[in-house]
Amino acid sequence: MNLEPDHNDQLAKWLSGELSHEERTELEKHENLNDLKAVIEDIDSWSLPSMDIDSSHKKLLYKRDNQTPSGRVISMRPIWRVAAAVAFLTIAYFGWDAYDNQLMKYATGIGETQEITLPDGSVINLDAESKLNYSREVWKTERTVELSGQAYFAVVKKKKRFKVKTKKKTVRVKGTEFNIKSSDKQFEVICYSGSVQVVTESDDVTLSQGDAVRLVNSALISFTTKEESPDWQQGFSNFEDVPLSLVVEELKRYYEVKIELPEEYSNLKYTGRFVHNNLAQALRSIFTPMEINYKLNSASTVDFS
């Protein structure tokens, strides 16, 4: 019944009328394409609701002018080249208050990321399930942002100090390109360019390019990275000897998925990576090497057998 494969290959040209008369006769001899033709004629009359360009254009301009704090256009490249450790950053405890009506709020949901350009041209890439706020009023006198979650910072060099406030311990950082991950369970700073100073009550560490620290039981543990940018910016999460329960927590930040990891697996150590844009593939790369049987159901629920 079916066409030979080489006939199927001609269907695009058949549709666009690019076949010669002979080719078409030959093709149609092999298969009755009348039904297909009739269905396509019908499809050709289908349409999508037209867009209200005027009102959506107004909406766009409103969003544009209220989201980009200065409306100033900056190019990324010069910032990346600022390698010297000139910017000073302070990460301090704060209580998410002292807001004013000029507060700029950014928040990302599961699996979302957002690029934020600050009035000074510094660029922040906000990872999934993260929040970043700053006050335009306060900004006039000090460069201060508040972060919860994970973000990559490329800070433009200025005389004025750049401060990042998080919920974690008091840490002071100086540097130009770095990643901060801060949640109730974790705190981590990775320096990708320049140098970064991290200070807590008990530690004072200066990180150069490729150096990183993580807060473990209220002490800073150093480690290194060969990467040039955070893994999440490249669309995946990387792990080395990390308890599986934490890996699953991380997975939930990028996918709307219902998953209850059985107790017996939670402390198994995982080394590997998962991608952020394909749930089935991500699950495979986590559980297959661990030899754990699981099943992804249609409602994005993961069952373990």
Binding site: M1, N2, L3, N8, D9, Q10, L11, A12, K13, W14, L15, S16, E31, L33, N34, D35, L36, A38, V39, I40, D42, I43, D44, S45, W46, S47, L48, P49, S50, M51, I53, S56, H57, K59, L60, K63, R64, Q67, T68, V73, S75, I110, G111, E112, T113, E115, T117, G235, Y254, Y255, E256, V257, H276, N277, L279, S300
Partner: protein
């Protein structure tokens, strides 16, 4: 070149009115959610504004589609794509007509579902061709793939659609 700048409000608006709906359709074929497609289209235009000084007017369409594709990839697609189109009224036909069976509301819905179920690449190429009336070369430019790749996708989509029609007709009888 200065007067060609996308940072000019009038030029930016002009690009919006020319491109917004096409871009929205393109995103709709990818995600199957009209509201989400409009949001993504808006977000794409916000990015264009941010980069307006760097993007040359000639390459603005390429920029829009590249950014839109990336934004779409950032979104998680756990749910299935279900596309819905506005359709013309069915012509009055008598049941003697050989095409009668293909001209029922139910059959149309099943074709719509069959198209939704096509692999992403095939579905995009096919719909850009049939609904947005783009030529294969125009599709190749938009998707940044070769002309041959577009033909392959369309051919595969048609072959599959053809088999689906045969199946659907059998099911009826």
């Amino acid at each position: 070149m200065q007067d060609q700048s996308i940072c000019e409000e009038s030029r930016y608006s002009e690009i919006y009115s020319q491109q917004a709906e096409k871009l929205r359709n393109f995103l709709y074929y990818k995600c199957g959610d009209l509201a989400k497609a409009e949001d993504l289209a808006q977000e794409t235009f916000l990015k264009l504004w941010k980069k307006c000084a760097e993007v040359a007017y000639e390459s603005v369409v390429g920029f829009l589609y590249t950014v839109a594709k990336r934004l779409f990839l950032d979104l998680v697609r756990s749910e299935k794509v279900i596309l819905k189109f506005e359709k013309s009224l069915l012509p009055n036909m008598n049941s003697e007509d050989p095409l009668f069976q293909l001209r029922t509301e139910e059959f149309r819905e099943q074709v719509e579902k069959a198209i939704s179920d096509l692999p992403d690449g095939q579905r995009e190429a096919f719909l850009l061709n049939r609904i947005d009336k783009l030529t294969y070369s125009e599709i190749a430019d938009k998707l940044e793939i070769s002309h041959t790749a577009v033909e392959k996708r369309i051919s595969k989509a048609l072959a599959r659609l053809k088999d689906d029609i045969v199946e659907l007709k059998k099911r009826k009888i």
